[in-house]
């Protein structure tokens, strides 16, 4: 998994509670991404970061926020979890931007269930 860890790997929570997922990389890559994966859909981008404190929204950002205070860590927060946010969440990293056509490498994923 290209030096990428995600924590927790599994979480069950209740509707309305805040949840934070962590992605940690040891590759010193500049770009980090959060995706969700659901049946019937390809991976969909939630948020991404192009440097410390530099983040931007992706395709499905509503209800999510992110923070990146260090190169190696990218946090995804569900402000108030809803059942529609039950999904598998993947973190990815790349050395250069997509504009420079650099490959993204993925972490092992976090399975989140919101009851």
């Amino acid at each position: 998994d290209a030096g990428i860890t995600q924590s927790p790997r599994h979480k069950v929570t209740e509707t309305g509670t805040p949840v934070t997922l962590r992605c940690h990389q040891t590759e010193n890559h500049r770009y980090m991404y959060w995706y969700r994966q659901d049946p019937g859909h390809g991976l969909r981008l939630i948020h991404y970061s192009y440097g410390v404190k530099d983040t931007d929204k992706g395709e499905v950002s509503d209800g999510y926020s992110v923070s990146r205070s260090k190169t190696e860590d990218f946090l995804l927060t569900l402000e108030s979890a809803t059942s529609s946010q039950t999904s598998v969440y993947f973190c990815a990293i790349s050395e250069a931007s997509i504009a420079n056509t650099d490959t993204q490498y993925f972490g092992p994923g976090t399975r989140l269930t919101v009851l």
Binding site: D1, I4, Y33, Y35, P39, G40, H41, G42, L43, R44, L45, Y48, D56, K57, G58, E59, F90, I98, A99, T101, T103, Q104, Y105, F106, G107, P108, G109
Partner: protein, 112 residues
């Protein structure tokens, strides 16, 4: 190919045969493509990539073919092994888009 609804297309091949997995991508301006392999319970794993200025690229036991005329990408796996069982999906980079655009995947099943 791409999936419809909740069920992925399935390709079943005999161990030792060659597999060909197809992907129809969405945008004629896409300039970079990646094939990923995803085993159950794991994250997507990079297999091979190709840029739009190429039509073929070979790796170890894998070949990617790009046909820009019909917006079609294929992944060929030679001498398929049991460890090749997984979901395979393509991704494309559309210039100006935020991040890659992913296909839904094809489930490759290896018959003994």
């Amino acid at each position: 190919g791409e999936s419809v609804g909740l069920h992925l297309p399935t390709l079943s091949v005999q161990e030792g045969d060659n597999s060909i997995i197809n992907c129809a991508y969405s945008n004629s301006a896409s300039d970079y493509f990646i094939w990923y392999k995803q085993e159950s319970g794991k994250g997507p794993q990079f297999i091979i990539d190709i840029r739009s200025n190429m039509d073929k690229r070979q790796g170890q036991r894998v070949t990617v073919l790009l046909n820009k005329t019909v917006k079609h990408l294929s992944l060929q796996i030679a001498a398929t092994q049991p460890g090749d069982s997984a979901v395979y999906f393509c991704a494309e980079n559309i210039p100006g888009a935020d991040g890659l655009t992913f296909g839904k995947g094809t489930h490759l099943i290896i018959q003994p």
